[in-house]
């Protein structure tokens, strides 16, 4: 197993800050917007983004929630491993909001497809955008593209991209794992 660190340390923090500034450009004070992290691992990123936005705009009221997409997946019949469901925490009204979906890695796009379905169960947002920390280019199975990108990675299917967080894994970093 070969490990290649794609991003860590100060650059990791700068990337998160850049994403926040890009969000502010489009969403101003977030009065009409909401940040929704996709469970389980997008929730960490959503929290970071939310905290950073609150630091940058102390007066803004930034709505933030988490969305579990387990029951909306399309691979229950084909995936041998059933994913564990996590909690959905959306305690605000999604109707007519500009929702920013947040996930750590965008790969095939199927998670985002499921997230769109899961989100619509809460109402009809005015607009839905997608923010990802890592975009694995050229691997999409569905016509889904991110609006905000941390870093772009060219990888093959056998490789794995792992994002670890200080809160749970003791270190903020993005690693590319390759076999042999």
């Amino acid at each position: 197993m070969q490990k290649l660190t794609l991003l860590d340390g100060q650059k990791f923090q700068i990337t998160i800050q850049r994403l926040c500034h890009q969000l502010i450009e489009n969403h101003n004070d977030f009065s009409e917007s909401a940040i929704v992290g996709i469970q389980p691992r997008g929730a960490y990123l959503a929290k970071r983004i939310g905290d950073e936005l609150r630091r940058l705009q102390p007066k803004a009221n930034i709505l933030q929630g988490n969305l579990d997409i387990t029951f909306f997946r399309d691979d229950i019949r084909t995936n041998k491993d059933l994913p564990q469901a996590s909690a959905t925490e959306i305690d605000f009204i999604v109707e007519n909001k500009n929702v920013v979906l947040v996930d750590d890695v965008l790969w095939t796009g199927r998670t985002i497809r499921a997230a769109l379905d899961a989100l619509l169960a809460f109402g009809r947002p005015r607009k839905v955008e997608l923010l990802v920390l890592v975009d694995r280019r050229f691997s999409r199975q569905l016509p889904i593209e991110p609006d905000y990108i941390g870093i772009q990675v060219d990888s093959v299917d056998s490789q794995k991209v792992l994002v670890s967080w200080e809160e749970t894994d003791k270190k903020d970093q993005i690693i590319l794992l390759s076999e042999k």
């Binding site: 389980p40 579990d68 387990t70 029951f71 909306f72 997946r73 229950i76 019949r77 084909t78 995936n79 041998k80 491993d81 059933l82 994913p83 564990q84 469901a85 996590s86 909690a87 959905t88 379905d117 899961a118 169960a121 809460f122 109402g123 792992l162 670890s164 894994d169």
Partner: protein
């Protein structure tokens, strides 16, 4: 780092006997999430979109049948329902033939209630579908036990260490056996209480306490699960009269208020008001009977969802 991929240890749900404690916890955790779904404006998820489920009821049922049907619909499964009374079973068709004919219509799962113990197990050995036991004779009723324990967990935070008394017709009750097994696997203490004729002779071997005095049982327990007298399964008379049974084993408000603590009252339904439980108890604040029904849908969704994940 890797996502967890939990799985039930069994392909069918025939009884609590086959489940591990981890299975039960997994069902509860999944049911927590489904309960959340059921409290949303849109109460439906597409999980079982391409799965067809047959509900085959050879015995009457209101709650269980409706609860399973609703759970299936909330999961977007296709369902067909079948009641033996209005079918060709009355023309002499066997159980295997009936079910194989239903399976020929490309059905993936069968939810079955049957008056004979072991009918689910028998079917699981002879047909190619996943079987969910919705009650087999006086043997097991696993989803009822799961939703009962889930309701206790919801009320107290944990089942472990709780004292549960099951009171009434233990001999003819499938709810009693499943409840005993489920509660014990979760670390609760269980007592059965009823007239000697309605307590199975060797029930002590299951590790439960046996009590014949209602007041003593109530003073011991945190939760009282009141069972109905199953007159339809009683081939002989087990006690002199219903009136006498009610006087000795019926739970009323006076007895409940005379206890030095507040216990929780449960009942799997159908209730015979005025026999095993009076209306003022059934409708009191201490009763969680309707919570049990609400939790039943979430538990059945969890069971069907987790079993469907077993197919691939």
């Amino acid at each position: 780092m890797a996502d967890q991929h939990p799985k039930l240890s069994t392909k069918h749900l025939l009884g609590i006997k086959d489940l591990t404690t981890e299975d039960i916890q997994l069902i509860f955790e999944t049911a927590d999430n489904f309960k959340d779904v059921l409290n949303r404006p849109i109460k439906k998820v597409p999980s079982l979109r391409d799965i067809t489920i047959a509900n085959i009821f050879f015995e009457n049922s209101t709650r269980t049948k409706l609860s399973f049907e609703l759970a299936e619909k909330r999961l977007s499964a296709d369902t067909i329902s079948f009641a033996a009374s209005s079918s060709s079973v009355s023309k002499g068709e066997t159980l295997i033939d009936t079910v194989n004919n239903i399976l020929a219509m490309k059905v993936d799962m069968v939810v079955m209630r049957h008056p004979h113990a072991g009918a689910g197990l028998f079917l699981s050995k002879h047909v190619d579908a996943q079987i969910v036991n919705a009650g087999d004779g006086a043997h097991e009723h696993p989803t009822q036990a799961l939703l009962d324990a889930f309701s206790i967990r919801e009320k107290y935070g944990d089942v472990s260490g709780k004292k549960v008394a099951i009171i009434g017709d233990i001999l003819h009750s499938r709810v009693a056996l499943s409840n005993i097994l489920c509660l014990q696997k979760l670390g609760a203490e269980v007592m059965v209480c009823g007239p000697t004729t309605l307590i199975p002779k060797y029930i002590g071997t299951l590790g439960v306490k046996v009590e014949h005095d209602l007041l003593k049982a109530l003073n011991w327990c945190d939760v009282a699960n009141m069972l109905r007298i199953q007159l339809e399964r009683q081939d002989i008379r087990y006690f002199p009269s219903l009136r006498e049974y009610t006087m000795l084993y019926g739970l009323n408000k006076e007895i409940l208020d005379s206890l030095n603590k507040e216990i929780t009252v449960m009942h799997p339904g159908p209730i015979n008001r005025g026999v095993e439980i009076t209306s003022d108890v059934a409708d009191s604040k201490q009763s969680i009977i309707l919570d049990q029904v609400e939790n039943g849908v979430a538990i059945r969704m969890a069971v069907l969802y987790l079993l469907a994940g077993h197919r691939a």
